[in-house]
């Protein structure tokens, strides 16, 4: 790797598009995923899952399965009664009911895909043969499928033990919302249904576990997870052992997008049956299971109201968000990760001080709702930004001008609900996106196209993304908990560097970016740095990777620990160089004395001296050698930016073509611009899927129909246009290095831009777009209805 050095030495790697060091391994097929783990004597598991949305289990007969040659065991809930229940307690806040489940269904199944039994066999083929032979007798029950009906007092209950379907109703308000609406010149109201989507990573989930009956019993679990330490923390108590007897190892992970920061029944069932069978067990999730029984996301009925003055000043927001929560409260983040996140960040980049929101979280007989890229920020953004376009149309205002008129300034800003933004390019990002779509001439182009019977439209979606998820930001987001991370930095005796972190990389490129950061902090070549993560036995405790947190937390924790080691290295070098430590500098792995050319000592020599230099070393080095571990939990950091979309709608077929997509991203100081671009591009593609394609569909009887990638559609290269990825850098006022996160921005912003562009294209028809995904069937229905209304009047 040759890197032209054009930056100051204190920032030799950070900010540069260094090539990803993990790519040669991953691209040449040398990645090692859970499915690559093979253990001697290992059995393969297949789950028997409910075909019903809601049913009582009357009987389970496994005799035919057990009679099949190659099937070793079949276990049901009765065999796992020694496990403790899995409990979703909520992220340490009042106002949400704790929800408990057994890993396998006991008396009632609660959604299609709910696991009922597990078959162990000599091969995955035989395990599935055995699965097909397990005879489960069900008594179907009336399913709860409509989230609003689920809130009614006479609704059947998804879980009778709770006494209600609504596991959380929250309300919050700031300012005087009632008065603002009463005094408003104009009120716009929108009901918007954000569709049900999921992460659909290329690599589905997977668990391999072995149990060793020594030292009181030890579990070793390989899992495709984003958070090895948190998974251990949640799995150990269910297995009834201390965390010290559980090792979680997460090898290479082929995409996660939030799906894999949930704790699933299979995470405990597989180790439990490894213990029961006395054999290591592997389970690799298939696509149907992933779609039916992983986590779903973003299915939310949003009601958004905006109070405005006649001049376009927005004076108040009021939102109600009902998350169609599925059958279980997900562990650890619960469905509040959608509904609460939609509500509490409602004002986004707008200077609106009177604001109120409420959320409801009815359980339904569907797959659980969990954290998936963009979480509830996506529906919240959709509801607000689509409503703002509606307001602009109603007031006869330009949607860009209306937004700019109401936007906060670029400095530190505290919202009505008390989130403190660390400065950003809120207006500038919108202006940049506006210019990138050539907005000045767009209306003319649009009018010409309409004359030819073509319908093009443009839409904007400026956003603020909470990033660097840590104690302060979580509290500000209404999901309070301690979130921090540690990093350990060790300079080995030969001068090579080992960093361990509890953060996890599953596409983000931490092996590159965290090495960049470490190399800069220590003053060593990046090639000498190895980043170790993903195994609870070899990495320091950490919270894992989600919520766009790792750039911020990784940088902060490494800077502190590496700084301590660097200080020791400089003092050791000073002894060797017979110089004052203040005069020593460490660059590229060589220590020298400032202003004295030729007087140098290589890092290797300093490190060896650090370990074996006896009493010639400073006392703290004699004690700690060259390792330091330090933690970090930053203040609130918020990225911002703006998406703009130009679309063409084929009004006869209802197909939408995204002609242009602009993403302006301001994530503060960029560790690696290429990686930032990759994150934004991937998230934008995800956003196109949310807007137009991705839909997890349940029929009226609760049957699940989106169980393959023939039915659950996400964008391929032919559906993603050339993206205009533009950046602005507003360094964070609070985080180490001025870094903000970037992982979810495009998924938050793109859907609303696309929906607004569609509505703009169809403005001659008077069509209100009130849901995602905007499918051909939906658009045609809307256009047909509009036509009928026009004919009737």
């Amino acid at each position: 790797m040759t890197i032209e050095d054009t930056r100051p030495r204190s920032a030799r790697y950070v900010g540069r598009s260094v090539q990803r060091v993990e790519d040669p391994r991953l691209l040449s097929g040398q990645g090692r995923y859970v499915d690559d783990i093979t253990l001697p004597g290992m059995l393969h598991a297949a789950f028997v899952r409910s075909p019903h949305a809601r049913a009582r289990i009357l009987n389970i007969d496994a005799s035919d399965a057990l009679a099949l040659d190659g099937v070793v065991a079949v276990y049901t809930a009765a065999d796992l009664a020694w496990l403790n229940p899995m409990v979703a307690t909520g992220p340490m806040r009042d106002g949400i009911l704790a929800h408990s489940r057994t890993p396998l269904a006991t008396d009632v199944v609660r959604h299609v895909g709910d696991p009922v039994a597990v078959v162990l066999a000599r091969s995955p083929y035989l395990a599935e043969d055995g699965r097909d032979l397990v005879d489960v007798e069900y008594e179907p029950l009336e399913p709860v499928l409509d989230p609003l009906a689920a809130l009614e007092p006479d609704s059947p209950l998804v879980d009778e033990a709770l006494g209600t379907n609504n596991i959380s109703h929250l309300e919050e308000s700031a300012g005087d919302v009632e008065r603002a609406f009463a005094e408003a010149d104009h009120v716009t109201r929108l009901r918007f249904h954000s569709g049900r989507s999921t992460a659909a990573p290329i690599e589905c989930r997977g668990v391999v576990a072995k149990y060793e009956d020594r030292a009181g019993g030890r579990y070793t679990i390989w899992a495709s997870t984003q958070m090895p330490h948190l998974l251990r923390m949640f799995v150990a108590p269910v297995l009834g052992v201390p965390e010290g007897r559980v090792t979680i190892s997460s090898p290479d992970v082929g995409g996660a997008f939030g799906l894999k920061c949930t704790v699933f029944p299979e995470d405990v069932v597989i180790p439990a049956v490894a213990k029961l069978s006395g054999r290591p067990v592997k389970w690799i999730e298939d696509r149907w299971e992933n779609l039916a029984a992983g986590v779903h996301s973003k299915d939310m009925i949003c009601t958004m109201e905006i109070a405005a003055k006649a001049d376009g000043t927005m004076t108040a927001f009021r939102g109600h968000f009902v998350t169609d929560s599925g059958a279980f409260s997900s562990i650890p983040f619960t469905p509040l990760v959608d509904s609460q996140c939609a509500g509490i960040y409602l004002t986004s980049c707008y200077d609106v001080r009177d604001v109120a929101y409420s959320v409801d979280n009815p359980l339904t007989n569907k797959c659980q709702i969990g954290a998936v890229r963009g979480v509830g920020w996506v529906p919240g953004q959709l509801a607000r930004e689509v409503a703002i376009d509606q307001l602009a149309r109603e007031l006869g205002k330009d949607p860009v001008e209306l937004r700019l008129q109401n936007m906060i300034g670029p400095d530190v800003y505290t919202t009505a609900f008390g989130q403190t933004y660390d400065g950003g390019s809120y207006a500038e990002a919108l202006e940049k996106a506006r210019d990138a779509v050539d907005y000045a001439s767009f209306r003319e182009r649009q009018a010409k196209a309409r004359e030819e019977g073509r319908y093009i439209g443009v839409g904007f979606s400026p956003f603020v993304e909470p990033t660097g998820w840590a104690t302060a930001s979580a509290a500000a987001g209404g999901l309070p908990n301690g979130y921090y991370d540690t990093a350990s930095v060790t300079v080995e005796p030969d001068g090579s560097v080992t960093v361990t972190t509890g953060l996890h990389s599953h596409g983000q490129g931490h092996e590159t970016t965290l090495a960049q950061v470490t190399a800069d902090e220590l003053g060593v070549p990046m090639e000498s740095v190895r980043v170790v993560f993903g195994d609870t036995d070899s990495s320091v405790f950490g919270m894992g990777t989600y919520a766009s947190r790792s750039a911020v937390l990784g940088f902060g924790s490494i800077r502190e620990s590496a700084g301590q080691v660097r200080d020791r290295l400089l003092r050791l070098a000073a002894i060797l160089l017979e110089a004052d430590p203040g005069d020593v500098e460490l660059v590229d792995g060589v220590a020298g004395v400032k202003g004295v050319p030729g007087k140098t000592v290589p890092l290797q020599q300093i490190a060896l001296f650090g370990y074996f230099g006896g009493t010639a070393r400073p006392e703290d080095v004699q004690r700690d050698a060259l390792t330091a571990t330090s933690g970090y939990s930053p203040g609130e950091t918020y990225a911002n930016g703006c998406a703009a979309a130009v679309v063409e709608v084929d009004v006869e077929t209802g197909l939408v073509e995204v002609e242009q997509l602009v993403a302006v991203e301001d994530c503060g100081v960029q560790l690696n611009p290429t990686i930032v671009k990759g994150q934004v591009a991937g998230a934008i593609a995800n956003g196109i899927g949310v807007a137009l394609l991705e839909d997890l569909v349940y029929e009226d009887n609760g049957e699940f129909v989106s169980g393959s990638l023939l039915h659950y559609l996400y964008p391929s290269t032919t559906e993603v246009p050339e993206l205009d990825l533009l950046t602005i850098e507003t360094p964070s006022a609070v985080s180490v290095g001025g870094v903000k996160g970037v992982g979810e921005a495009g998924t938050i912003s793109a859907p609303a831009a696309i929906v607004n562009a569609i509505a703009d294209a169809l403005s001659p028809f008077g069509v209100v777009i009130d849901r995602t995904p905007v499918t051909p069937e939906y658009l045609r229905r809307k256009l047909r209805d509009a036509e009928r209304t026009r004919e009737a009047s």
């Binding site: 599935e128 097909d132 129909v705």
Partner: protein, 289 residues
């Protein structure tokens, strides 16, 4: 996502293949495997045996002496890339562009896509529009089936259990106007509706014979008798005729609904793409003879 147990047979000749099919009830022919294997992995298909015809000599290949002959195991990618097909039967090339993706076309076979009889597949409709004939191998000989008689319903054709599609013959149709259009959620997906049209003009540009072959609208690819009747006697490219043909295209056809779209959607969208295809047919470069 693992198939149920099955036997695997790899006959070395056509005769052996026919024998193997007859000897193994509920067996399936394995050609490119791009549809069958996923269905088996999802256990939607559980054949007792797979009869792999991939190594039988003479089943693959393209020849064009007057008419076009495509062997059943010819890869879709090979037909798509064939210059003679592009020049003389451009409708086939146009249809193939919508069949899956480069990776699936590299394995998927021309005959497999036809014999599989997925109602939303492109090639069967193209065969209807082109008056293709299929040569079927059977115990003791062969028989020929016209494309219009071949498809019965979802994944169902006239092929008996011990019969095998051998090759496809397409007549020389140079001078015909043609067009191909479909609506799909994503490029390469099975269509929500689609149409292959072919119009034979007289010297004055008046349609003397019309083929309007629809797919993804019903349980099988189907010619629209109403649209074809309406078009005969109109001028190629006549806007009114094109619109009218689109409107009647699905008359007397039972239109399918699924989790993606309603029958109403299919009817409306079909009217639009039939009209567009008929207009496009007037300007597409005609195939050579």
């Amino acid at each position: 996502m693992k198939p149920a147990q099955f036997d695997y047979l790899r006959p070395g000749s056509l005769a052996e293949a026919i024998e193997a099919l007859g000897a193994n009830p509920d067996s399936k022919v394995l050609a490119g495997g791009q549809s069958l294997i996923p269905m088996m992995n999802m256990r939607l298909a559980r054949p007792s045996a797979l009869v792999d015809i991939g190594r039988i000599d003479g089943l693959a290949g393209i020849s064009a002496n007057g008419s076009l002959r495509v062997g059943a195991t010819t890869r879709q990618a090979e037909v798509l890339a064939d210059a003679t097909v592009q020049r003389r039967w451009p409708l086939i090339t146009a249809a193939l562009r919508h069949v899956g993706h480069p990776a699936t076309r590299a394995r998927g076979t021309f005959g497999g896509s036809i014999a599989h009889a997925e109602p939303a597949a492109e090639l069967p409709a193209a065969m209807l529009a082109l008056d293709a004939a299929f040569t079927v191998h059977r115990p003791g000989g062969t028989r020929t089936v016209a494309a219009t008689d071949f498809f019965l319903g979802h994944y169902t054709t006239v092929l008996a259990e011990d019969e095998l599609l051998g090759h496809v013959d397409v007549p020389a149709l140079g001078g015909s106007h043609w067009a191909f259009a479909e609506v799909a959620r994503r490029h390469g997906d099975y269509a929500l509706t689609g149409v292959a049209v072919r119009l034979t003009p007289d010297a004055d540009g008046v349609v003397t014979d019309a083929r309007v072959a629809l797919f993804a609208v019903s349980s099988r690819p189907v010619r629209s008798a109403a649209a074809e009747r309406l078009l005969v006697g109109t001028r190629v490219g006549d806007a009114e005729a094109a619109t009218a043909a689109g409107k009647v295209a699905l008359d007397d056809i039972e239109v399918a609904e699924d989790s993606f779209v309603s029958a109403t959607y299919r009817t409306e969208a079909t009217a639009a793409i039939v009209r567009r295809a008929l207009l496009e047919a007037a300007t597409n470069p005609k195939g050579e003879n």
